[in-house]
């Protein structure tokens, strides 16, 4: 036994990332008891969009009976940025309508509302696979697409998009088990209880992507979880997977920060881990993958931490997607009152909700109930530089703040605002209590809006120019036809003409003018260079639509 344990020894991380904070963990209170089982609430409110990308389209109608695990919304194109949605329990679709969804800016979105029948009856055709390595990587990916798996760490990026092998071969799989935000323990508890299945999930990803090496990054304040993983590795006798303990320092779980701590490599600006031969998955996502492949279960539930200073009990619970937060909080003795506030996510990156009338979605890792604190008066920035000292992206937050206030968006981009991961470290240390991240979000949205407006006007101008071109072409063609007729007539009459050549030259000139204008436009520098993967995807989609439209225009 001890030999085996040695072979899967836990390594300590050798590298560091810039800045960050040592925060009080507040994790023990929610780790006292094991993960509680799901409840089946009377009503499930399942949003059509719980992920980054396009919302899924309902494939059921109001009045339809649905079974647990049945696909209720999807998009046909499996490669697009979207995720399939399944019925979390059996029952009847009673409405498809807009409902408030948990989000930073109080959005509403279309939701499929299911009245459960209490039977919790599974779809019969659950396919389970014993040996995932017998499946091809395409098959595995297809199952993951159909299971509607998205990144469960918080961002909700569709997982299948990170399972595609592209030209550049991948050499390292990084599993993010850092769970660096205070209070949140859902990943740690899941590891403690399901380490074996998680390791299977890791093997599936390694197989699907044909990667030989895997690093699991876990913060060193979770000794039980890393021990569980270590045990699972030893029992299975796996040596390609290495557990690495990283110092507990927020935000060690940031993707680029974790990669730096684990490998010493800095993901270059505007690049993705993939460009460096790495791909990163959250550990809860890995578990979901294992469940989907080996048991045929789509993503219809997740583990949620319910905790906070003003809750009598705290713990982790498996929750069906679409369960109202009320139903969950009731189990933990939550009583609504005006002195407390509900946060989805952790205290650093989570957002405040005005009530518990929101469904649990795929990215809900934590519901945190905290006492309301009086917002502190923001004083002017005294440029003390604390924010720069703690910034994990090595930015100058106070300069970003000044330029955002001055609405100097070009300068804001010079100072690399799009490298900001909105971790909130600067907010936390600011002696003037300035809500800095809010300013950065504002600046980013403002820049995106301007980009979109510019795209729109570019589009309009292009269309206008194309129309001009078409009119000119038509004119030229008409003239040509006329000239031909005339020439024919003249030929008959024995008179030759050079008019045809003149017309041709005119067409040529018009074409050249348009081409020149287009190339000038292409040469104009765009400030869309620092977009994240999701933004780029979105823009690509818009671009594609525009092209299609342009083509249909041309065809007309």
């Amino acid at each position: 036994m001890s030999n085996k344990l040695n072979s899967a020894a836990v390594k300590k991380a050798q590298w560091k990332f810039h800045g960050g904070l040592k925060l009080a963990g507040h994790k023990t209170q929610s780790m006292q008891s094991s993960i509680a089982n799901t409840i089946v609430p009377e009503i499930l409110t399942v949003p059509l969009q719980q992920h980054i990308g396009r919302p899924a389209k309902p494939v059921v109608n109001v009045g339809d009976k649905v079974l647990k695990g049945q696909c209720i919304a999807t998009l046909k194109d499996p490669a697009s940025v979207t995720a399939t949605i399944h019925a979390p329990s059996s029952g009847e679709v009673i409405a498809i309508e807009a409902h408030a969804i948990p989000s930073m800016d109080k959005q509403t979105a279309n939701c499929i509302i299911i009245k459960t029948d209490g039977e919790d009856r599974w779809l019969q055709s659950l396919k389970s696979v014993d040996d995932p390595t017998s499946l091809s990587s395409d098959t595995l990916k297809q199952i993951i697409v159909e299971a509607g798996i998205v990144g469960l760490g918080g961002a909700g990026f569709p997982t299948h998009l990170k399972l595609t092998v592209e030209n550049k071969p991948l050499d390292t799989l990084i599993i993010n088990a850092a769970e660096c935000e205070p209070y949140i323990t859902c990943d740690a508890m899941l590891i403690k209880e399901q380490a074996d299945k998680i390791i299977k999930g890791v093997q599936i990803i390694l197989h699907a992507l044909n990667i030989k090496q895997c690093l699991i990054g876990i913060e060193d304040d979770k000794p039980q979880a890393s021990k569980a993983l270590q045990q699972a590795l030893s029992t299975a006798g796996i040596k390609t997977i290495q557990i690495v303990q990283v110092p507990t320092r927020y935000p060690a779980g940031g993707e680029k920060q974790l990669i730096q701590v684990l490998t010493g490599k800095e993901v270059p600006l505007n690049k993705l881990p993939r460009d460096m031969g790495m791909v990163c998955h959250n550990i809860a996502t890995v578990y979901a993958i294992a469940e989907a492949i080996m048991e045929g279960k789509p993503l219809i539930e997740r583990v949620v931490t319910i905790t906070g200073s003003s809750l009598q009990q705290a713990g982790n619970m498996r929750v069906l997607i679409g369960t109202s937060m009320h139903d969950v909080l009731d189990k933990y003795g939550y009583k609504e009152n005006n002195d407390q506030t509900i946060i989805m996510g952790g205290p650093m990156m989570g957002f405040h909700l005005d009530s518990a009338d929101y469904p649990i979605i795929k990215t809900t890792n934590c519901i945190l109930i905290q006492k309301k604190t009086k917002p502190k008066t923001a004083l002017p920035c005294i440029r003390c530089g604390e924010c720069a000292r703690v910034c994990p992206a090595n930015l100058l937050p106070q300069q970003l703040y000044w330029y955002t206030r001055a609405k100097d968006l070009d300068r804001v981009q010079d100072y690399q605002i799009f490298s900001c991961i909105e971790c909130g470290c600067c907010d936390y240390v600011c002696p003037s209590h300035i809500p800095l991240v809010q300013f950065y979000r504002y600046a980013k949205t403002e820049i995106w809006t301007q980009e979109a407006d510019k795209k729109k006007s570019d589009h309009a101008r292009e269309r206008h120019e194309y129309r001009q071109f078409r009119l000119e072409r038509k004119k030229a063609e008409d003239a040509e036809r006329k000239a031909k007729k005339k020439a024919l007539l003249n030929k008959k009459q024995g008179i030759k003409t050079t008019e045809q050549d003149t017309k041709k030259a005119a067409i040529e000139a018009a074409l050249n003018r348009v081409k020149a204008r287009q190339s000038v436009q292409a040469a104009i520098a765009k400030n869309t260079d620092e977009l994240t993967e999701e933004q780029q995807k979105k823009i690509d989609e818009i671009e594609q639509r525009r092209k299609n439209k342009l083509n249909t225009d041309k065809d007309n």
Binding site: R389, N394, V429
Partner: protein, 329 residues
């Protein structure tokens, strides 16, 4: 040390004030109560003008008074003034610092120049006579006598000239300007030289150094400014040691060197906020301070060094932006 406790402007300012205490005690031991009277008059002036300005600018009074920045400005200016200063000198300096140096630029956080140094520079230019009346060390003035002088500009039966003299820095500059060697100046005026720098001043500087190190330990200030400032003074003193005869120790522990290194140049609002920018900024102050101190027309060059580098700070910021994550790979 790490950031587990929430920070606040008040905490920063209070820490700065605490860290000044050892220096103030050393000052009192060597030069008597004059500096305490300076501080009292300065703080009262600062609070009154701050409240007045906040009211005129229709700003909430409580949070801005509680931030403590006005008091810090007042204390720093009081420490820089001669220890035998009439009340109106302090009043003019502090109110100018608060009204013109701070509020007319937009108040806390918006002033491009260090307010205390703006006040100091104004006084030095306008009242050169009063600004150079310094008590000699180990004088026998009581608190009441000092207060009497501050309020009525008289010492009753005491001959003021017998108790005051040019400072060490001033004497060295004047005498060496006349061609005397540093060693000769030291022997001719033993009353103003101590073990390794100006008498009294060397201990006051040591005490400020001690307070400053505590601020570093508390992470209220960052290391770049004191290190670059003291480093540049040291290098300048070393470079010019052969021609001036003044030792690096004499410069490091003379005049307001340590006060500037840890308390004045470190004013975050007017300094450069980038790590490399801070190095350049503080090294610049050190060079200016040395040059003016040795060859300029004023007793110490720190105030002008600070103000000159304040002007350069925005430009320094722009060229010293650190590379963002992933930018230099």
């Amino acid at each position: 040390m790490d950031n587990t406790a929430p920070n606040s402007v008040t905490r920063i300012m209070l820490n700065v004030l605490y860290a000044l205490v050892p220096g103030i005690i050393a000052y009192v031991i060597f030069f008597g109560w004059g500096v305490v009277i300076n501080i009292i008059i300065a703080v009262i002036t600062a609070i009154v003008t701050e409240v007045l300005m906040l009211q005129l600018r229709k700003r909430p009074i409580k949070p801005f008074i509680m931030d403590g920045s006005a008091v810090v400005t007042a204390v720093l200016l009081a420490l820089a003034l001669p220890n035998l200063a009439p009340w109106w000198l302090i009043f003019i300096g502090v109110s100018f610092a608060i009204i013109i140096g701070k509020h007319l630029y937009g108040g806390l956080g918006y002033n491009p120049f260090n307010p205390a140094m703006i006040g100091y520079a104004l006084l030095l230019i306008s009242f050169p006579l009063q600004m150079t009346v310094w008590l000699q060390p180990d004088n026998t003035l009581s608190f009441m006598q000092s207060l009497n002088y501050a309020l009525f500009s008289t010492l009753n039966n005491i001959d003021i000239d017998a108790m005051t003299m040019a400072t060490t820095l001033d004497t060295v500059k004047t005498q060496s300007g006349l061609g005397e060697s540093f060693a000769a100046i030291q022997t001719s005026a033993p009353a103003i030289f101590g073990q390794f720098a100006g008498k009294g001043w060397e201990w006051i500087n040591l005490a400020f150094l001690f307070g400053g190190l505590w601020l570093l330990y508390r992470r209220v200030i960052s290391w770049q400014i004191p290190v670059a400032f003291l480093g540049s003074i040291f290098i300048m003193a070393l470079l010019f040691y052969p021609s001036t005869g003044t030792t690096p120790l004499y410069h490091l522990f003379g005049g307001a060197t340590m006060l500037c290194a840890f308390f004045i140049a470190t004013d975050p609002v007017t300094a450069s906020p980038t790590p490399n920018g801070r190095l350049i900024y503080a090294a610049g102050i050190g060079i200016f301070a040395y040059v003016i101190r040795m060859w300029g027309g004023y007793p110490d060059g720190i105030a002008f060094g600070v103000l000159l580098m304040n002007m350069a700070a925005p430009t320094i910021d722009y060229y010293t932006r650190p590379k963002a994550f992933g930018e230099n790979v």
